[in-house]
């Protein structure tokens, strides 16, 4: 499965599930880049059908509506949607 890694300051394990065509997802990537944090992301719309089904099930555990962006932090909490305040707060 194609998961990209953006290097930066380690603030915990950050996994961003995004869509390549989604403007809010791109804003979230830019925010994480500006914050300079280390994170991984997957553009779920660009995965194979098989990988997409797998990832959808994974996202559903955190966000039942499987909307994008979904950011899972330290396998323990998640931020749904482009939410700079909540992200800044969780990644202090």
């Amino acid at each position: 499965m194609k998961i990209e890694h953006v290097e930066g300051k380690k603030k915990g394990k950050i996994m961003l599930y995004a869509l390549s065509t989604c403007v809010w997802c791109n804003k979230t990537k830019k925010l994480l880049n500006d914050m300079g944090v280390d994170y991984h992301y997957a553009n779920v719309d660009q995965l194979s059908d098989e990988d997409r089904d797998k990832v959808e099930k994974e996202i559903a555990k955190w966000n039942p509506s499987v909307s994008f962006p979904t950011i899972v932090i330290n396998d323990s909490s998640c931020v749904i949607g482009f939410n700079p305040d909540e992200l800044n707060d969780k990644l202090k």
Binding site: L19, S20, T21, C22, V23, W24, C25, N26, V44, D45, D49, R52, E56, A60, P64, S65, V66, S67, F68, G81, F82, N83
Partner: protein
Amino acid sequence: MNVNPEVIAEAVEVLYRTLNQEAESSGYHLNPDAGFTKDLVKGLLVNTGRYGYQSCPCRLSSGRKPEDLDIICPCDYRDPDLTEFNSCYCALYVSEKALRGEVRIQPIPERRPPPGKRIIPKADTAVSSFPSSKIPVWRCKVCGYLCAREEAPEVCPICKAKKDRFERF
């Protein structure tokens, strides 16, 4: 896909102008942030190339049209979202208040039911009845336009949604 960036920019510009004209002529408005809106329009073009239909750029398409009919732009959720939140889910379309800058355009919650709870409509199923009409009544699921005629129109005269977005009323 190797497409000349200038060709893409031109295609975005053409679709942006078309959508803007259609929106304004039927009482809808595109997001006044042209840069933001053109990024979404580009997403629509990418999805049309990928799936063969103009699926929402901010939602995950299944690639199977019957399952994605509700999220073909303009989606079934646009009008209720405009009423409640002043923009559609992507913020491609905004309310008049948002257009005038009276309310801020920001991300809104997802109204589409989660996977497993979505109802995939069968063509030709009536949702309720018009007791005295001998002529079938068709309802556009995008904007609510009703018309009484033998078949649904090819394109909704109000919101430009295609025929497959109509249901028998």
